[in-house]
Amino acid sequence: MANETQHVRLRGLSHVFTDGREPLHVLDDVSMDVPHGQFTSIIGPSGCGKSTLLRIVGGLLAPSAGSVRIDGAPPRDAQRRHDIGIVFQEPALLPWRTVAGNVRLPLEIDGARRRGTEAESLLNLVGLSEFRDYYPHQLSGGMAQRVAIARALAVDPTLLLMDEPFGALDEITRTAMRYELLRIWASQAKAAARKTVLFVTHSITEAIVMSDRIIVINGRPGRVVADTAVELPRPRTQEIERSAPFLDYADHLRGLLDGAAA
């Protein structure tokens, strides 16, 4: 499985929800290859199936058609190896556990590997060591989301699935978190050890600033309408948001999103 070069491979994914009154076709023939260590954003209008796609990749939902391979095997193998970390729009912390207790949760789950990272150093990483004994209801939205990120990193997964992780935050916090996540992602000493990130967002700025590559999904059912590499130098700082290449990317993406929606 390690001889696979692609980390995530999707082939002809389609999904139809049949639990409603009428079958709902949300994804149609989605294929992509994501190499190890790539930061990929998935952008598209509300309801086009981005969350559904992420849940399929994470093995939380079986697709109606098509195949998902993570390191050449079905998602459940990656789940079993604790190789997937998920962050949702809501932090979804356990309110009866402290910050440290929430971060430790994945390590208490059966079969957790010893390679898991200490809660202490994770809290350092997300800048919350002083809040280790706080309860979720004592945290701000941004802090809670940082705990959720630390929790997802606890088992040291190679694949991070993030579904609009900053979607519920205010603009200022959101901008700060963006660069914070980039810092965390880049904190791996060797670029080869970097985590593969699939990052769902509604924000064009967020997608460009963070990603190596942006996949645009549009339509109902959702299809891949564009797949763009972002060739901006790293490390990226907030200045990049005013640079000419950034603005070109933004125009290009805006065109793709508007055009396909019409």
Partner: protein
């Protein structure tokens, strides 16, 4: 002066005084009405008669109250244990839920106190029929609340655990059980008083001990001050249980909105 003590005193004054005054007014009106209309003590005793009878032998009433509380508590524990066990199975299996829920609802709509005489025929005059009836009355509310509680988990937290292939066992202990605690506490607030009802009613029919027995035999013999004393002890037990549950809930559910919003 100690700030904490003064804030406790203020709390007592703010929350304790109004009901105390209301209670005193009701007792005063009752006393006045009985004196004014010269109501026979065989029909309704004055509060002062009840007071006199109670303090004539308080140990007797507390002892009978203790029996009732004991039977009710054992019934509560037994009924809850069965209900929670079934709820765990039902929460993990829709077919079992579909099979058992209608039976449980049938139990709910049956006035179960009507079973009391049957229980005495089956179990005799000991504590068993009392515990059994108390358990029966507790069963349904506990089952429904536990079932909802085990199911009502945060979907994000559940998906997170599933993405690590957590076993149903660890999902149950780490997620479902803590999530169900608020529901179990609301259930206890309903079921503990129901358990008392069950124990008292079973005691009516068995005539040897407990406040239900005191109420029944006092009514038979028109000893109304004794009857009202027994009812007052039941009321005190009910209030004490409620306060104890509130205090426990505050400690256990410190993280839950229901507790935080009252702070």
């Amino acid at each position: 002066m100690n700030g904490r003590l003064s804030s406790i005193l203020r709390g007592v004054a703010v929350y304790g005084l109004p009901p105390a005054i209301a209670f005193a007014v009701v007792i005063g009106l009752w006393e006045a009405y009985v004196a004014w209309r010269d109501v026979s003590i065989l029909v309704v005793p004055a509060p002062s008669d009840v007071w006199e009878r109670f303090f004539d032998d308080p140990g007797y009433f507390w002892e009978q109250g203790w029996w009732t509380l004991y039977e009710a508590t054992l019934g509560l524990i037994a009924g809850s244990a069965v209900a929670i066990t079934l709820a765990v199975i039902m929460a993990h299996s829709r077919p079992v839920e579909r099979g058992l829920l209608p039976l449980a609802i049938a139990m709910k709509v049956t006035p179960l106190v009507a079973i009391a005489p049957v229980l005495i025929i089956i179990f005799g005059f000991g504590t068993t029929p009392k515990i059994f009836l108390a358990a029966l009355l507790c069963f349904f509310p506990m089952l429904v609340n536990a079932l909802i509680g085990f199911r009502d988990v945060d979907s994000g937290a559940l998906e997170f655990m599933r993405s690590l292939r957590a076993s149903p066992w660890s999902v149950f202990w780490k997620l479902r059980v803590p999530s169900s605690l608020p529901y179990l506490f609301s259930a206890l607030r309903i079921t503990y008083p129901l358990a008392l009802v069950g124990a008292v009613i079973a005691e009516w029919f068995t005539g040897n001990r407990g406040l239900g027995f005191v109420v029944y035999s006092a009514a038979q013999n028109l000893r109304t001050p004794e009857l009202f004393s027994a009812i007052a002890v039941l009321a005190v037990i009910g209030v004490v249980i409620n306060i104890a549950l509130s205090l426990l809930e505050r400690r256990v559910l410190f993280w839950h909105e229901s507790v935080r919003s009252t702070r």
